[in-house]
């Protein structure tokens, strides 16, 4: 880990590794909070409130900023522009890149890694898979659309994926790129006692057995992507998907109203 292969002398290089301070009065992880399987501020099927605004990055063709609780993601879309590679393609290409800010997670990340972390890449793949069925790529031959996401704060890796998907879809809409529908996404966790909690935070994920992220286009009633990790029974998975899908229609209204607000402000 201490091996610095890509040392950049032009910037202030922080330490490679860092650890969050542990205060003496803080509970040790594992025994944290008196009853870990009792949600503190919301009901199991509740998600954190969403703040979404489009068009904040003026240089980009489209952009969106999303905040759900402590998870904050900013997204910029550039394109459709001519694809960099010269080979001819009938369909447009959608590129998704995810970066974590060094201060986004509990543990500091080394900035400016030329190679992305595995975490960034898997998140990028997830978001790409979620939004690619919605974009009408057949209308953009030889073009590429580049989606850049930056996670500013990470509270629950699942919520970074869902917030990223929502932000990416909103930013694509803001860019005026033709889509079949808006994609929204919701995550749920199966807790160790078998309960399903939607939109889990980092703290809550410590007590979860499995997690599931569902992305869909509520306007068309289509699901674009489901990704699941951990151990679940089929019943639990179906329950979780149903709960997510139900919540997605609420999220869809949030995204639609954010786009409307931006549109009428012009």
């Amino acid at each position: 880990m201490a091996q610095i292969t890509s040392f950049d002398r032009r910037r202030v290089n922080g330490p490679d590794d860092s650890f969050p301070p542990i205060f003496s009065d803080e509970d040790q992880p594992g025994s944290s909070s008196s009853s870990p399987l009792q949600r503190e501020s919301r009901k199991p099927k509740d998600i954190r409130p969403i703040f979404l605004q489009t068009g904040l990055i003026t240089q980009a063709n489209g952009s969106a900023y999303i905040e759900t609780g402590n998870s904050k993601v900013v997204c910029a879309v550039y394109g459709p522009r001519q694809a960099k590679n010269t080979s001819y393609s009938e369909k447009g290409k959608l590129n998704v890149e995810v970066k974590f800010a060094p201060f986004a997670s509990q543990r500091r990340k080394v900035p400016n890694r030329y190679l992305q972390d595995a975490e960034d890449r898997s998140l990028a793949v997830l978001i790409h898979q979620a939004i690619v069925p919605s974009v009408r790529l057949e209308l953009f031959p030889k073009s590429s659309m580049d989606v850049f996401l930056t996670v500013i704060e990470n509270d629950g890796i699942q919520s970074c994926g869902t917030a990223g998907t929502i932000a990416a879809s909103a930013a694509l809409a803001d860019a005026g790129i033709e889509m079949l529908g808006l994609v929204v996404s919701c995550a749920g966790s199966v807790m160790s006692n078998g309960e399903i909690w939607l939109d889990p935070t980092t703290r809550e994920l410590e007590h979860s057995r499995a997690s599931l992220t569902l992305s869909c286009m509520p306007a068309l009633g289509l699901i674009t992507n489901v990704s699941q990790t951990g151990q679940v029974t089929p019943q639990e998975a179906i329950q979780c998907m149903d709960a997510c899908e139900e919540r997605c229609s609420d999220i869809h209204m949030v995204v639609a109203s954010a786009l409307h607000k931006n549109q009428s402000a012009l």
């Binding site: 919301r42 009901k43 099927k45 509740d46 998600i47 068009g55 063709n61 489209g62 522009r81 001519q82 001819y88 919605s134 009408r136 030889k142 073009s143 809409a173 803001d174 860019a175 005026g176 790129i177 033709e178 889509m179 079949l180 529908g181 808006l182 286009m217 509520p218 306007a219 068309l220 229609s249 609420d250 209204m253 949030v254 995204v255 639609a256 109203s257 786009l259 409307h260 931006n262 549109q263 009428s264 012009l266």
Partner: protein, 304 residues
């Protein structure tokens, strides 16, 4: 938990009787039945319904329903320019490649500017050497703005440019304003000066360069081609008054393009004159006030 959104669900489908002239929609919303209406831009068909594919305003002309995207209204995006041979364009270098530059001209594909189609230092008719290839960035770099002419259209819709005239080349001493390309018509000349000491280059692709006036005797003849000056990245000294004039011209263009007024040399000169007649014209920003902007548009369209 989300009571405020639940009721809106029912409103997602548009009633046919409703006035849809300024309704805002987002992708995936069905707009209207395709039985009675035709689908226009920004829509697609799904189960006998016209469904929106962009976020924007619904526009209806008789039986044609289309959705105009948000960004199209800003004139930055989706109003792409279709190049034609002989068009004068203003563009931005996006890439330096082998013996060519790629130039963004607001078209579907970036234009190509070949090393062989630019004037190089030391006489125009000299051969392009390998050493020129190696120092292409001393002529144009990524991000540089240039004015050029479309030389050729390729089979795939791409285009190539040339700057083989002393009028063409790198741009400096001014600012860029972007308008929908439809607003710039083909004119006798796309270079013109306003009496206030401002030169304007109206690119047919909707990119407009507004710069400090270049005096005729400063423009060197073919013989005295000065590479230092032509490919310089350094701005000249621009005094406060000229800066004001440039900014005022840019604001006028912004206001006119928002009202979708076609831009010609005569209209811009008229508009500038009108603005200078107004009270408080020393304040460059005042043009952008809604009231003043409306008056300006009214005055200009009345004269035209």
């Amino acid at each position: 938990m989300h009571p405020q959104y639940i009721d809106d669900d029912a409103a997602m489908d548009l009633d046919e009787d409703e006035d849809s002239t300024s309704r805002i929609t987002s992708p995936g919303e069905s707009i209207i039945s395709s039985q009675a209406f035709m689908r226009g831009h920004g829509t697609y068909l799904e189960n006998d319904q016209v469904v929106s594919s962009v976020a924007g305003t619904i526009e209806r002309v008789n039986r044609l329903v289309s959705v105009k995207a948000i960004r199209a209204r800003k004139g930055i995006f989706r109003v792409t320019y279709i190049p034609e041979v002989g068009d004068l364009v203003v563009g931005r270098v996006t890439e330096v490649a082998a013996r060519r530059w790629k130039v963004h001209v607001n078209a579907r594909q970036d234009s190509v500017l070949m090393l062989g189609s630019v004037n190089l230092p030391g006489g125009i008719q000299r051969r392009k050497l390998e050493s020129d290839e190696l120092q292409m960035r001393t002529f144009f770099e990524e991000g540089d703005l240039l004015v050029a002419e479309i030389q050729q259209i390729m089979g795939d819709g791409g285009s190539s440019l040339h700057t083989r005239s002393l009028k063409y080349g790198k741009l400096r001493n001014g600012m860029l304003e972007i308008v929908p390309s439809a607003l710039v018509r083909r004119l006798k000349s796309h270079f013109f000066s306003l009496p206030c000491g401002v030169d304007i280059i109206l690119g047919l692709n909707g990119f407009i360069w507004i710069m400090k006036h270049v005096k005729d005797h400063e423009q060197l003849g073919e013989q005295g081609f000065d590479a230092e000056a032509v490919y310089s990245n350094q701005n000249d000294d621009i005094d406060q008054a000229t800066r004001g004039s440039i900014a005022r011209t840019a604001n006028i263009i912004r206001v006119l393009s928002k009202a979708f007024v076609p831009l010609t040399d005569a209209i811009l000169a008229d508009a500038y004159e009108w603005v200078m007649e107004q009270e408080g014209s020393s304040d460059v920003k005042s043009i952008l006030n809604d009231e003043m902007a409306d008056q300006l548009v009214a005055a200009v369209t009345a004269r035209a």
